[in-house]
């Protein structure tokens, strides 16, 4: 994989990691490297293996096979995890503790934590320190979890859906904090359902699908690996005819219109116009990350859908 050419030494990596959970192969030979100073976005539908990959990297569950390295050590080593900050999507903190108490507790686990004031400023916790966690809004709780993740001055940050439930202002603040941390050399592993978030923040994208890495690269590279152009028009030409043309990835009829995903728009357009001079409502778009992602995972959807239901 092209990752080996990366000039930056990785902070953590998975090499050919396999993990079976029940009947499901949750990870099926996954390679993943997390470099410093970069945001790596881990994308995939529910059950693609994102959570399993993160839990193995953090030592929360073992791998059946493969190599796992976190700061030169095994993740079960406390010393390795002292370089790591974590925000887990499903973790609820003790409701009866105040935000300041949670922050002091978490800071005590790190050798050189950020000051409370820094944590408050980075995560936007003004006025919340004396409040009980259980009495905060969902967005405020998310910010507290973000503060706990970064309070130890980690060099590697695991952020699992960090902005779910945040309003636009709070999301912008988290994005700013992430960019600041990255500028300081922190490596970040981000999982998100918001593809625009991955597009806005990620230096690298790793697409997981059914326990395998489907694509790795910059946002642009991943986008380039799939249909680059989306053509939409009203035409009498049948979708199944167009699907057989060279350079066409997919063609389908949507709401009475033909939608074609093609590597290059021009040859397909030329042929479409030759075949149907009456063609109307023509629209050509560059595919976004969302479409790249959907196109990449759609191919295997039907085959593996039943397998994936419980792999998360």
């Amino acid at each position: 994989m092209s990752e080996n050419a990366n000039p930056l030494a990785p902070l953590a990596c998975l090499a050919d990691v396999r993990r079976r959970r029940g009947a499901v192969q949750a990870l099926d030979g996954v390679d993943l490297m997390l470099p410093a100073g970069q945001v790596t976005a881990l994308l995939g539908v529910n059950g693609a293996g994102k959570t399993t990959a993160i839990e193995i990297l953090l030592g929360l569950q073992p791998a059946d096979a493969g190599e796992i390295v976190l700061f030169d050590r095994h993740p079960s080593d406390l010393e390795a995890r002292r370089h790591v900050g974590v925000m887990l999507q499903q973790a609820q903190l003790p409701e009866r503790l105040q935000v300041g108490e949670l922050l002091s507790l978490t800071r005590s686990w790190y050798p050189d934590p950020r000051s409370v004031a820094d944590c408050v400023a980075l995560a936007g916790l003004d006025g919340l320190l004396g409040r009980r966690y259980g009495r905060l809004s969902g967005g405020q709780q998310r910010r507290v979890q973000f503060a706990l993740a970064l309070c130890g001055r980690p060099q590697l940050l695991f952020l699992d859906e960090p902005t779910t439930g945040l309003d636009i202002g709070a999301r912008q603040q988290v994005w700013r904090a992430i960019r600041r941390l990255v500028a300081d050399g922190v490596g970040i592993l981000l999982t998100t359902h918001y593809l625009e978030e991955a597009e806005a923040l990620a230096d690298r994208v790793v697409v997981l699908d059914a326990g395998r890495v489907r694509a790795v690269g910059s946002v642009g590279e991943v986008r380039a690996q799939v249909a680059q152009r989306r053509i939409r028009c009203t035409t009498v030409v049948q979708a199944d005819v167009v699907a057989a043309w060279p350079g066409v990835r997919t063609a389908e009829a949507v709401d009475g219109q033909l939608v074609v995903m093609a590597e290059q728009a021009e040859p397909v357009l030329r042929r479409l116009l030759e075949t149907d001079p009456q063609l109307d409502d023509l629209e050509v778009q560059r595919a976004g990350l969302a479409e790249a992602f959907v196109a990449m995972t759609a191919a295997t959807d039907i085959a593996s859908d039943t397998n994936r239901q419980e792999a998360a």
Binding site: L58, F71, R81, L88, A91, P94, S104, W109, P111
Partner: protein, 262 residues
């Protein structure tokens, strides 16, 4: 891949994690969590004294002074068993279910801090309970013990919470947050009764006295009674052995379960 090229990062000199500080903050946070949860704290801290007043002082006081003396020891054990079982099982089940346990494991929280904090709290609560009972026994029950007997009784009871912490640890590693209190009560209340903690077993049919050695609480009660000069016929080492075996077995089962589960 050459792992030796990976960065380990720099750290400001002279900074390291101070374990005693982790223990202190963890204990403080756990204590605050419990104190802010009246549903837990009131039964744990007040029921042993309440039952002692009812059965030891009001009912038992009409007869000889023997009831006040016997039940002083057994209600202390009752308190220790409750503090150990509830303090571990319920809080562990909640933290596991809500993901806080996994987050602590993902973050560099020292695993020993979790254990030390809960052990200290269970022993602290037991100490509060035995002091309450002592005050009641002296003031209203006419119980007199030598200073050495008091000290031994308190030490036995406070340390006696440990095997029940281990049982609670095991239950908490298995049960869901909703089921944990039910499981604990299902074990706690019958065991307390059948071990003679509420009433002397001599007041019950003989079969209960013969079955009593299956309950760890009975063995602790015998040691506590021995400390106040009311020894039974079973040798001390046998009680200690049973409690040690229970402690080790439950710890092993719990840790095996907790290592596997996320």
């Amino acid at each position: 891949m050459d792992t030796t090229t990976m960065t380990t990062g720099t750290r400001r000199p002279g900074t390291r994690v101070r374990l005693w500080r982790c223990y202190l903050l963890d204990t403080r946070c756990e204590l605050l969590r419990l104190l802010r949860e009246p549903m837990y704290i009131i039964p744990t801290l007040l029921f042993p004294a309440l039952f002692y007043v009812m059965f030891g002082l009001l009912l038992g006081g009409r007869g000889s002074g023997g009831a006040a003396r016997y039940l002083l020891a057994t209600y202390g054990v009752f308190g220790a068993v409750g503090a150990g079982l509830f303090g571990f099982a319920v809080t562990l089940a909640i933290d596991r279910e809500r993901g806080f346990f996994a987050l602590r494991r993902a973050l560099p929280a020292p695993p020993s801090a979790w254990l030390v904090a809960r052990l200290l709290i269970a022993m602290l609560f037991t100490l509060v309970i035995v002091l309450e009972l002592a005050a009641l026994a002296v003031a209203f029950g006419g119980v007199t013990l030598t200073a050495g007997q008091w000290a031994l009784l308190w030490t036995v009871t406070v340390l006696g919470a440990l095997p029940f912490c281990a049982i609670g640890l095991w239950l908490g590693s298995l049960a869901s947050a909703n089921a944990a209190p039910a499981w604990v009560n299902l074990l706690f209340l019958p065991m307390a009764f059948l071990s003679g903690l509420w009433l002397p077993l001599s007041m019950l049919p003989d079969v209960f006295a013969r079955l009593a050695p299956v309950w760890p609480a009975w063995h602790l009660a015998q040691i506590a009674l021995g400390a106040t000069g009311q020894s039974g016929s079973t040798p001390l080492w046998l009680h200690l052995l049973v409690l040690a075996v229970v402690t080790v077995a439950c710890c092993v089962l719990a840790l095996r379960r907790l290592v596997r589960a996320v």
